[in-house]
Amino acid sequence: MTNFWSSRRIPLAWLLLSRQPARLAVALAGIAFAGILMFMQLGFRDGLFDASVTVHKLFDADLVLISPRTMSSIGMASFPRRRLVQVMADPAVRGITPVNWNLLLWRNPQTRSTRSILVLGFEPADPLFTDPSIAVKAKGLSQKGRVLFDQLSRPEFGPIASWYNQGKVVETEVAGKRVRVADLVSLGASFGADGNMLTSRETFLKLMPSTPPGSIELGLIRLAPGTDIQAASRRIKALLPDDVKILTKQGFEEFEKNYWRSSTAIGFIFTLGSAMGFVVGCVIVYQILYSDVSDHLPEYATLMAMGYRLAGLLGVVAREALILAALGYLPAYISAQLLYGLVRSGTKLPVAMDPQRALLVFSLILVMCLGSAAVAMRRLGDADPAEIF
């Protein structure tokens, strides 16, 4: 180590950059801009995918059953409830909750216009969400025609929360049938549903009379604490016929995200956005390094005449690129943190810095700088030491 330190030379790359502060500032601003662009686009993309599973995350379940025909939360197919009951045969299973899931039309009691709302039907005594306050409120559903309204639904559903809090009796129509808001809950709008509503299974069947009483769209399975979830999933899969699909809770969320990722343009749009940031960054870094090499060409030629190797000088340009990447990433990272905070408070989109994305953007900036340096280096080949006399 001491040997390495003592054999070091003049830090030419750093001096070339730092003695031209204006150019360095432009380069860093460009790289930071590209970095922020990539951070924001990728952040929005992941945030939107996260937003598609707002409700999924709340379920009190280790494993879930869905129909193999189900593609996403906006088109849940039904399967026989018997299958969920069969699951009880496995000793690790502690509890099950059959859930009916559909999108129905909610009439805004103020404007009388209708809008699609996600309706979940369940036995009020069964646990549905991990939030214990909902189980308490669910008791109010035992009366027919009562619903729990999600106060985080978009405002287009009407001023339900404020009316309810004023003590009014809030009544409206869902799928043409009269319902009364028994209480308010906080779930959150998701990608597929602008609003949510919980009701008893009995009321659900009244709202949707065509639903066969023995069919459900989602089955929640709770396992004994400490159970190997994967192993239990395999056992249950073996137990059941092919007309249901078993997923872990995590897998259920991925399944939903994957639908939005693969069957919509969202992933493409934001990936394209970050690719544009990458390209812009490449152009800026290339411009900076190219003009830096061009401006110093006689000096590089002088160094070659003195006996410095071309490879050594290429190393100088490469080190310049590394320094630029490291110095440009820092402001990008910090600004992205601040902007994520702004977006979270402004749009309720769950956008946050995650280490994987931080690493991805750093690698992209690194590739951007080194790639641009590699192209700019070709100019170094023009440095002919014989021309400097």
Binding site: I10, L303, M306, G307, Y308
Partner: protein, 293 residues
């Protein structure tokens, strides 16, 4: 006193090329650092303006440069034009050779060929007993580390201080730690009278000072041969004189051969030997005393 400057003076007087590792200024007290610029320049110019060519016995020195039958062309096909035609030249260790001649006669081309900056086309150039004809890029680059070069337009790195510029020359020395290379750079800057300007950028130095830094940089790599292309062209006559005297004194103390291209008639008297060139050929040996005076 000027002659006692670097400790290698004895070596060069005995006619030995400097072994690469005998130290010039290292740590601690060095005679060079005690010199101020004025005394150096004065004693050197006294010696040279006395009218005699420096009495160095050239004959018993080994040749560091041996050029035999060197021809060179630029361009191809119909545009092919001969720049050098059958040039023969020898430079001994510690010898100072001045090359003069009209513009475009091939002086600079000869300099770049001797400096291993260009591939040899025809003829033989032996540098430190190594044949340059057919030497590849890599071999030439390695040979260049033993040559110091001083350019018409100083060619200092703009973003480096005087000290760092000189250290770029010293950094090529193997087996020396960072600290000793930096000290070496400082000693050389003191030796050229710029001990007070270590941290200045080339931008803040005068033309003469820049050329001194360039000399320090060329010598910091402990070269055995120094090539200079009109080092005084951009300087006024007094500064030019000082720079050349300094160059001569330091090169002699290092036992370093010098090949200097110049148009400047005022500095011809520093030469051990004067070579004139015309139309790509060297004229017959110059008269014993140069025609200037």
């Amino acid at each position: 006193m000027a002659q006692s400057l670097p400790p290698d003076a004895i070596d060069s007087a005995a006619g030995n090329p400097i072994p690469a590792n005998t130290a010039i200024p290292s740590n601690g007290v060095n005679p060079a650092s005690q010199l101020n610029q004025a005394s150096q320049v004065n004693s050197a110019s006294q010696l040279n303006t006395a009218g005699q060519l420096n009495p160095v016995n050239i004959l018993n020195r080994p040749n560091i440069v041996e050029v035999v039958g060197l021809s060179h062309w630029f361009g191809t096909g119909a545009m092919r034009r001969a720049v050098l035609q059958g040039v023969d030249l020898r430079i001994g260790a510690g010898e100072m050779v001045l090359l003069t001649g009209p513009s475009g006669c091939g002086k600079t081309t000869l300099l770049t060929l001797v400096g291993a900056l260009r591939a040899v086309q025809q003829g033989s150039v032996r540098l430190f007993d190594q044949e340059l004809n057919a030497a590849n890029r890599d071999q030439r680059q390695r040979l260049r580390r033993r040559i110091g070069m001083i350019f018409q337009g100083h060619n200092l790195l703009r973003c480096l201080t005087a000290e760092q510029n000189v250290q770029m020359g010293a950094d090529l020395l193997p087996d020396l730690g960072y600290r000793s290379r930096r000290d070496l750079a400082r000693e050389w800057l003191r030796a050229v009278g710029l001990g007070d300007h270590l941290a200045k950028l080339p931008h803040d130095l005068s033309g003469g000072q820049k050329q001194r830094v360039a000399i320090a940089r060329a010598l910091a790599g402990r070269p055995q041969l120094l090539l200079a292309d009109e080092p005084t062209a951009a300087l006024d006559s007094r500064t030019g004189r000082e720079v050349v005297d300094l160059l001569q004194g330091l090169a002699r103390d290092q036992g370093c051969g010098v090949l200097m291209v110049t148009h400047d008639p005022r500095i011809l008297d520093v030469a051990d030997r004067l070579v004139q060139m015309e139309d790509g050929r060297l004229l017959e040996p110059a008269p014993a005393s140069p025609a200037v005076e």
